[in-house]
């Protein structure tokens, strides 16, 4: 039955090739729109949150006054020393952020300087070239790989905050913060640069930004967070995901783009419904003949569904290719990319939209009376 329906759908598409191509192109344009929106949302989100997503951590410790803001958080490093003795805590690290500039071969660029404790959950996990600095190395840094566009290579020396020279020993990827590339340095280098670019914060090597904690496998992060808050005064402990959501703009951006992607998927559903209804209206007589010669209703409906599925598949490929090409030619300022997980999720959403759109026409197919085929001159 399914094979017959698929054969009918394939034959219809082949015999009205021009129209099929047009329908596929239109749906491709709509899927291109949906995938572009999803790609923009995903890339913007990743560009804002990479600095936390790159960590192999479960919890983040802020001082209460920071209200979960990485740039504002300040906790004394000694505070974290006793944490490994808290039930469920596997390991602890510290991380601090400060916006500053870096002098590269191609000129000065805005960066976020990240001070982190090596060999702890505060280390970035996606090292693509070279290595990470270790604590105690005085003039060493790892850079976000996007900074290679500034002409910087392994072994080069760059200047941080106007006066601190560091040697580049590695590159990390997908570790940006608020759309800015990050530079990862040991905590003492970070403290020195921060003292220069944010003098009101003063120089305090033992005052770091936030603590990051990995819990033992099987431990409940919520319970461990509560245990840490009970142990330390004046801190707020949240899950890594909550800390990511608290990054400025992330929540608003996610909400806005989710609505936009949902509306564009609804438009796809609507247009699929429109195309299907037009198809059924135009072929009413042929469908009636098909029913009159004994084709079960399921075959006729199946042919319509198969046709929509084929259009969905072709349009998804077309939309994906168009989005991929746009990402190649779009200006650097427009952060557009298309990852497989995004394609899978949005493609699934578009499939559901296609099914819903087709369902509108299925009702019309069901109402086709085989006796219509006997009516001479009526289409």
């Amino acid at each position: 039955m399914i094979a017959v329906a698929a054969r009918i759908a394939g034959a219809e598409l082949r015999r009205a090739l021009g129209r099929s191509v047009l329908s596929a192109l239109t749906l491709s344009a709509l899927m291109f729109l949906t995938l572009t929106l999803a790609g923009l949302a995903d890339t913007l989100d990743r560009g804002s949150t990479g600095v936390l997503r790159t960590l192999d951590a479960d919890l983040v410790i802020f001082n209460q006054e920071a209200r979960q803001q990485l740039l504002r958080s300040r906790i004394p490093r000694p505070m974290t020393i006793g944490l490994p003795f808290v039930d469920g805590v596997h390991s602890v690290g510290t991380i601090g952020l400060v916006p500053t500039s870096a002098r590269m071969p191609a000129g000065d660029v805005r960066v976020t300087l990240v001070g982190f404790s090596a060999r702890t959950p505060a280390e970035p996990t996606r090292v693509v070239e070279g290595r990470l600095p270790v604590d105690g190395e005085p003039r060493i840094a790892a850079l976000d790989v996007s900074l290679k566009a500034q002409g910087v290579r392994l072994g080069d020396t760059i200047v941080l905050g106007g006066d601190r020279e560091v040697e580049v020993v590695g590159f990390v990827e997908d570790a940006r913060f608020l759309q800015q590339p990050t530079v990862w340095v040991p905590p003492d280098v970070w403290a020195l640069v921060r003292a220069r670019v944010a003098p009101e914060a003063g120089y305090a090597e033992q005052l770091v930004g936030a603590g990051v904690v990995r819990v033992f496998p099987g431990a409940d992060p919520g319970e461990v967070a509560a245990a840490i808050e009970a142990e330390l005064d004046g801190v707020e402990v949240v899950t890594l995901e909550d800390a990511i959501t608290s990054i400025p703009g992330v929540d608003v951006q996610r909400g806005t783009f989710t609505v936009l992607v949902a509306v564009s998927i609804a438009v796809v559903s609507f247009v699929v419904g429109l195309l299907s209804v037009l198809e059924v209206t135009e072929r009413r007589r042929q469908l009636a003949i098909l029913r009159a010669v004994g084709a079960p209703r399921r075959v006729v409906r199946g042919a319509l569904i198969a046709r929509s599925m084929l259009l969905w598949a072709v349009a998804l490929v077309g939309g994906s290719v168009a989005t991929w090409l746009l990402a190649r030619v779009a200006p650097d300022a427009a952060p557009l990319g298309l990852r497989w997980p995004v394609l899978a999720v949005v493609g699934g959403g578009l499939l559901v939209a296609t099914v819903i759109g087709t369902a509108v026409a299925l009702g019309r197919v069901s109402r086709i009376d085989p006796a219509t085929a006997m009516q001479v001159g009526q289409a």
């Binding site: 913007l44 560009g47 759309q179 800015q180 305090a204 608003v252 557009l336």
Partner: protein, 369 residues
């Protein structure tokens, strides 16, 4: 033209679906443009609409206000530059603001009353003393309104709202402007262990008749780590602004492309469906240009209808949208989007028009063959 309009009226079922699809797409394009514009305003409105002609940041900040620190000596040096009418320190810091028992992130700005950078108000008066503040009308829904008291968390300071600004937010969070001494006191309370509180930047007014470019260039000649920018230029270059602007521009262009695809496909299909009727009309003497005019009239009517309905829907949505979904709607935005949608839709009907003009009236004599 009347032919096209009559068909629209007599066959609403045929055109309603494409009208609805185009309306949804126009709504999407309006939302892209509206959200993008509002996002940019929320990010940089306080800078873009600064009353100062020029804003001066530290060189190392690379155009990031958060990263900029200047000194009191810098302010004096800039004030002495030829062509500068007045110069004053401006402070910006992110703090916690408590209104109606709700704690929110707030961008706290400090300006010298009456000096460069003093915000223009739409209601109330400017802050003159400690304990007074102005806020933006966009944050009224959050409780930041005339008479409201804003407690600056963990500092012991509370300010009362005495005036309202418009379109003057920063970093997409409620923006509170106080006097510079008040700002210094707040920062001093937050960083109690710090020696000095330094201004974030310097606001500059050009002297009477002095071009802004001349002031920017003159400040650039100072032997200090300072960078001067006209306020609009600085606003456009703030971190994140270019990305948001470009992202929504890309989405808007792709949305218009989708409008073009839907309109183009529909009218090509409709022309194919009506082939026999159109051939008959040509055979009885209706010129091809009349049929073309009818088709274009239908396209224009559908797009204008979609723009009208879309405009109303987005305007209502903008009025009721929660603060976390910033949306803006203006007649200018609607006009721009309508014009763009009309242009791409009319261009998209080229295929249908070509098919229509290719109809041979003689085919009517062999109809059905």
């Amino acid at each position: 033209m009347r032919l096209g309009l009559r068909e629209l009226v007599r066959s609403p079922g045929r055109f309603a679906p494409v009208g609805a699809a185009v309306t949804l797409l126009v709504i999407l394009v309006l939302v892209f443009a509206g959200v993008g514009s509002r996002h940019v305003d929320d990010l940089n409105g306080a800078v873009a609409r600064s009353s100062a002609d020029v804003l001066v940041l530290s060189t190392g900040a690379q155009g990031s206000i958060q990263a900029s620190r200047v000194s009191a000596e810098d302010v004096h040096a800039v004030a002495r530059v030829a062509g500068v009418g007045a110069a004053a320190p401006v402070g910006e810091v992110r703090v916690g603001g408590i209104v109606d028992d709700t704690l929110r992130d707030v961008s706290l700005w400090g300006v010298v009353p009456g000096g460069p950078g003093t915000p223009e108000l739409v209601e109330g008066r400017a802050p003159r003393a400690l304990g007074e503040a102005v806020v933006d009308v966009a944050d009224r829904a959050l409780g930041f309104d005339l008479g409201a008291r804003v407690e600056i968390a963990d500092t012991g300071h509370t300010v009362q709202v005495v005036g309202l600004t418009e379109g003057r937010r920063f970093a997409s969070i409620p923006t509170v402007t106080v006097t510079y001494p008040q700002w210094e006191a707040v920062v001093d309370a937050i960083f109690a262990d710090a020696d000095d509180v330094e201004p974030t930047m310097i606001a500059v007014d050009a002297g009477p008749g002095v071009p802004v470019e001349q002031v920017v260039a003159a400040i650039g000649m100072l032997d200090r780590d300072l960078v001067a920018n006209a306020a609009p230029q600085l606003a456009a270059g703030l971190p994140g602004v270019a990305g948001v602007r470009a992202s929504f521009a890309v989405a808007t262009i792709v949305g218009l492309l989708a409008v073009s695809a839907v309109v183009g496909l529909f009218f090509l299909l409709i022309t194919a469906l009506r082939q026999d009727t159109l051939t008959m009309l040509r055979a009885v003497g209706v010129p091809a240009r009349s049929l073309t005019a009818a088709l274009v009239t239908q396209v224009v009517t559908i797009v204008l209808g979609a723009a009208l309905v879309g405009g109303v829907v987005v305007a209502v949505a903008a009025a009721v949208a929660p603060p976390r979904l910033p949306l803006e709607m203006s007649p200018r935005l609607l006009a721009t989007v309508t014009a763009a949608a009309l242009a791409v839709a009319v261009v998209a009907t080229v295929g249908a028009v070509r098919r229509l003009r290719a109809i041979d009236p003689a085919e009517a004599l062999v109809g059905g063959a």
